[in-house]
Symmetry: C2
Subunit: 429 residues, 2 copies
């Protein structure tokens, strides 16, 4: 069987996962790719660092030139993460006629157009399945399985850290702070959890999925973003009473050639399959005009799940399933699609108030909602919690603008202390 | 843009779905396939039949020769269903150098080896995504996305009719008979529901998935099969009490090069995502040694969902993503893998008895289970139902043989009237 040499850039969590899979599943991978894959070089920062996985020392290098200049290396697997170096190395590798596999969502979300253009010019393949949702093959799903569809909506639980935290809060009744601490102890959250907890990670992934699904460039800066720091155990409890579960959703819709793009905590019906997506699992629901609803559920991170996507991409390159022209189809011929202003977005809403006077608050808010065309579906029993009396509403579908206008008035009411939180609802209708 | 001519064999539910998608999504399909697809001929039984969808009359033919002999037709889409004619037409089309797309599970489950061999000889492509689970792209998932994995288990809700019936029984408390009647009225079940209700349909689909997943030929006659006719509302209720939901599962496992293949009603934990797969939806959970658990959820039948898979296959052929050699990889180089005898299979069990005397039954059964190495996890409260007293047990993992030996003794007990039902449990551990 013919040998093929590859190089791995970065030997952290995912890099070692790839190494393990290539070793453990060697027989299957040879059969499926028709090649004997040999890792020729691994780029690391410190070649003398003690590692759990022992690799032949001549395989390690701290000099990218050893890889770029080695003509026998046909595929470069970029698992460094981050921005500038990773991008530079991939470009240099392509110019040296090497195919690329990457797990780097930051680079794809920021520079896919530039990178795909170079791949086309150099006639090399560029795969990035692992950049979104780890082991879930969502990129291939959009690019190859659902080609008969006009995709109408993508809804994802695509950040494992926040899903772990929200699951802990929902199932065990933990507070946000305790759940975050536990996530950090288990290695699901970084010491600085901003990227996950405040929704940035989900925004990058949504940008990649939306770009492919709707055949347009998507600037991640245009995506509405809200994290989960403000979600309290009271909201989790109220949501339950209303029949909902709170998840951080990434939502992309296309309607009339306009895009709606947002990442925020969301109430979803507790009997929907996505409500049972717990812990560090991810799920992505795609609505296509032919297939209807299609959901993928799996591990969105971790050495082996992410490694599964990376090695799958290596095998795809070896099979040469996708010709270079396909990789760029959705981007080269991208239509321009406008992103809706977030105030024009519509959804149902959950609104929780801290109030002084119940009779007053019910009458006063009813008037204000009515004037702003917001109709209320249900109201919770009030709960006294730490000396505050709190109350939650569920509204029918309303525009963000009407909700905002209502709340601007409600906050001024004598009977109301504070608008504690507003959370959007997704009913999947 | 270059034109390509295709022919559709059969213009029923799926055939008209394909027609609608090719029309409705023409722009997207041209962009993604780089071809302008023209339906040149449609094979029907009666060209004069009144149809909801009007097609130019010169497009219809009742003579397969009009299609086989037309050299301008490059792809034949077989949607007749059934066995002999469909198989014959596909073989003739391949010999006339036409690529094949089919939705025919019967033909694939019975003659894939023969058909793939001919495809290879004739150097044509043969796609069958729609043969399993309608709109869910499970074939591509196994063949192309999970190539880095050794697949360890596939667990599917792959029959919409039985899932509709069980959902009705679970959510609305319907009886089996009423739920079946409703399924028939809604067009989810045939007048003769045997193929669905008794598990044959799921068996064929499981055979196809297992063959691809484990790289071996699978004779569908070797698959253990049990339908849902014996499931009563009492079992649904007991299952709920124990924290389970009843689903018809198709299960394929590989362990130590031996296969375990079975289709039967199953108790699954109510908090598992598969428990929320309701109505006519399908779901397939794949366990791979790298990716971990991956689940796909979507519509397993219907004109547009199944059409989505068929048109996706047509586009794949036009892109020529998969070379003919790939299509046959898993079958040509198939390892032989033995199918375990079902008595050697292990699982937890739910067992319901109709008894005369409670104190007696508890003591007597405990002794018998103990002797046969079956340990009981929990026992329901007894319920008197229509003059019978009934009681259910949940066991730890046991072999089918030990359960059978226990029940052979239990049925002889003075204190027991009848063993009402035995249902396997799948805990996804």
């Amino acid at each position: 069987m013919e040998k093929v040499k590859i190089a791995i850039l970065g030997f952290g969590n995912v890099g070692t996962g790839v190494w393990k899979i290539l070793l453990e599943n060697k027989k299957e991978i040879m059969k499926r790719s028709n090649y004997d894959i040999e890792v020729a070089k691994i780029l690391v920062k410190d070649i003398n660092k003690k590692r759990d996985i022992v690799v032949p020392s001549e395989m390690l290098t701290d000099n990218i030139d050893d890889i770029i200049n080695d003509e026998s290396i046909k595929i470069v697997v970029e698992l460094i993460g981050g921005r500038s170096e990773a991008k530079e190395y991939m470009i240099r590798a392509m110019k040296a006629k090497k195919h690329i596999v990457t797990a780097n969502k930051l680079v794809i979300a920021n520079w896919s157009k530039e990178l795909f253009k170079i791949a086309k010019e150099e006639n090399v393949l560029f795969y990035y399945e692992a950049s979104v949702a780890g082991g879930i093959p969502i990129i291939r799903e959009i690019n190859e399985s659902l080609t008969a569809n006009r995709i109408q909506q993508i809804t994802g639980i695509i950040n494992g850290t926040t899903n772990y935290i929200l699951s802990k809060m929902t199932i065990d009744g933990s507070s946000f702070d305790d759940a975050l601490k536990e996530a950090q102890e288990k290695g699901y959250a970084e010491a600085d959890p901003t990227s996950d907890v405040d929704g940035y990670d989900a925004v990058y992934k949504l940008a990649i999925m939306a770009s492919l699904s709707f055949g347009t460039e998507v600037d991640h800066a245009c995506i509405y973003r809200e994290g989960i720091r403000n979600i309290s155990d009271i909201d989790i409890e109220y949501a339950k009473q209303f029949g909902y579960t709170i998840k951080l959703l990434a939502i992309a819709k296309e309607e009339n050639n306009k895009l709606e793009l947002r990442v925020h905590p969301t109430l979803i019906p507790s009997n929907h399959p996505m409500a049972n997506v717990n812990d560090a699992f991810n799920a992505i629901l795609i609505k296509g005009n032919a297939v209807g609803e299609l959901m993928l559920y799996g591990k969105g991170a971790g050495d082996l799940p992410t490694g599964s996507a990376v090695v799958g991409d290596i095998i795809s390159i070896l099979r040469n399933n996708v010709s270079p022209s396909d990789v760029k189809t959705t981007n080269d011929k991208a239509d321009f699609k406008e992103v809706k202003k977030s105030e024009d977005n519509e959804s149902e809403f959950y609104i929780r108030l801290d109030f002084k006077d119940k009779a007053g608050v019910l009458g006063d808010t009813a008037k204000i909602f009515g004037k702003n065309n917001v109709s209320v579906v249900s109201i919770t029993q009030d709960v006294t919690h730490q000396d505050h009396a709190t109350l939650a509403f569920i509204t029918h579908k309303s525009s963000e603008k009407n909700i905002k206008n209502s709340l601007d008035k409600i906050i001024e009411l004598e009977s109301v202390n504070k608008v504690e939180i507003i959370i959007r609802i997704e009913s999947f209708n």
